[in-house]
Symmetry: C2
């Protein structure tokens, strides 16, 4: 039996599943203090004596560098209670089974890679465009990471000629996240993204930003598939606009799969994080 934790900034989901990643039991509770949250995690998993491994996909930033002293920690999160919390260490003190540790978006990527939109591919990239922008990538079953986990949402892109917005990223102002995540729209127009008309010019501008990011990911990683999720992608025209801009920007420089099968939606919905956690658990068995 496998365990999974989707550790989010607002809620935690814990689940156990079988070797086919089918969920057997699941619980969800709000994220409060680390001690209280840990207790609920233990209460859930302790019942399952035949648990073989647990996979954790956590909100971050987290330390994923095995050579680092703080490997397994949640690091510089704005959620001060959780800052510098040795999440993996506390889990390992309680359980002596293998425990996998990665970011929430990497876990989601792993889920889509194994049992979702990229399940017939050898590589993929998953990007969520919501309150923030985060991404993960898998090449041949392995999560792309090195000195730490990726931070694909903060790459440098070009401002659109019709957009002089200075950006909202506290570190970089006009990085991708600063220009194209949901809050940038609220800051520009004073209304939530979902309340803007579908003909508003901002959607073309956002598509231009996302397409730039996708071009750079494509050139740097050459994934077989790119999966776009998150609240902003609920804007009905966005996926097609991104594909159009991508095609213009790449200018046929390299071959990609047919765009309709290259840039796609996720297929696992809300279960993506838990699916990824179970797969991660299975990988480290």
């Amino acid at each position: 039996m496998l365990g999974a934790i989707e550790a989010g900034g607002t809620k935690f989901v814990c689940a156990v599943g079988d070797d086919d990643f089918k969920i057997i039991d699941k619980i969800s509770f709000p994220t409060t203090y680390p001690e209280e949250t840990l207790q609920r995690i233990f209460n859930f998993f302790d019942i399952y004596a035949n648990l073989n491994a647990i996979g954790i996909g956590s909100f971050g930033p987290i330390d994923t560098n095995k050579k680092s002293e703080k490997y397994g920690y949640i690091t510089s999160t704005p959620k001060t209670n959780w800052r510098n919390f040795n999440f993996l260490g506390e889990m390992k003190r309680h359980y002596s089974i293998p425990i996998g540790w990665t970011t929430d978006v990497n876990a989601a990527c792993l889920g889509e890679y194994e049992v979702g939109s990229a399940s017939y591919n050898n590589s993929c990239l998953y990007l969520t465009v919501g309150t923030g922008i985060g991404g993960g990538a898998i090449l041949n079953g392995t999560i792309v990471e090195g000195f730490g986990h990726t931070e694909m949402g903060h790459i440098i892109i070009r401002n659109h000629p019709d957009d002089d917005f200075e950006g909202v990223c506290p570190y970089h102002k006009n990085c991708l996240e600063g220009l194209a995540a949901g809050p940038s729209i609220e800051k520009r127009y004073g209304v939530k993204a979902e309340n803007l008309d579908s003909n508003h010019k901002i959607w073309g501008i956002l598509a231009y930003y996302l397409a730039q990011a996708l071009v750079n990911y494509t050139l740097i990683l050459r994934p077989e598939k790119i999966i776009l999720g998150g609240g902003v992608m609920n804007q009905a025209s966005m996926l097609d606009l991104v594909k159009e801009e991508f095609s213009l920007l790449l200018a046929n420089y390299i071959e990609t799969p047919d765009l309709d099968s290259y840039i796609v939606r996720p297929s696992l919905g809300n279960n993506v994080g838990i699916a990824g956690g179970l797969i991660l658990a299975h990988q480290i068995l």
Copy 2:
């Protein structure tokens, strides 16, 4: 015994080496027609009856997608004789040993990873800034590639506020290569890059472009080391300028190794391609 081919657009180098990647014999000749070049390759390697594998690092673009019908081909190169040439296929028709196939920059990256500047690291990125800009990356000993090989030189970056140059890339105009490779300087000022004064403002501008690329590579791949080679990096101040701009642009958003050990020069010199070829040969044994 291992074989290596550094297949360049102007010259070919063939070598055989031992299991410690020490070169035993080496030959170099100009790149002419595919048939003539192949014959010289065969003449060189045929002598070594105990050859176990050959690794090829080739000029490109090449097809590295094992699922593709044109896997092993040199594809859309401006060198028309070589366009659509099944290089790997011809090699395999002549030799029945394993033959590794990757780009020249990936081979160089592999060389620096195993026995060069990144030999104590688990991941690295190699970028050459010369007539063009090309890059390769290794994560845990594996070359980063998916649907095809990477094309890191053509990523989208921002123009410097003091540089209104439109760029020289035939596909994208102002991509990284279009703005920051050697020929962009010749186009801007009518003189070769090496003839411009070391105080010229262009070096700061180039450093800004290269640093943007390095920030994006860092966020997307998180390599443990970045190795910068190629003719333009011969400009004495360039490496330090790039590190300065990198630091400003990243704005401490994520941790990297200390910059002096993160962004470094190659250490294998002209032997990098052959070293990488021998290592590739060893990997596929």
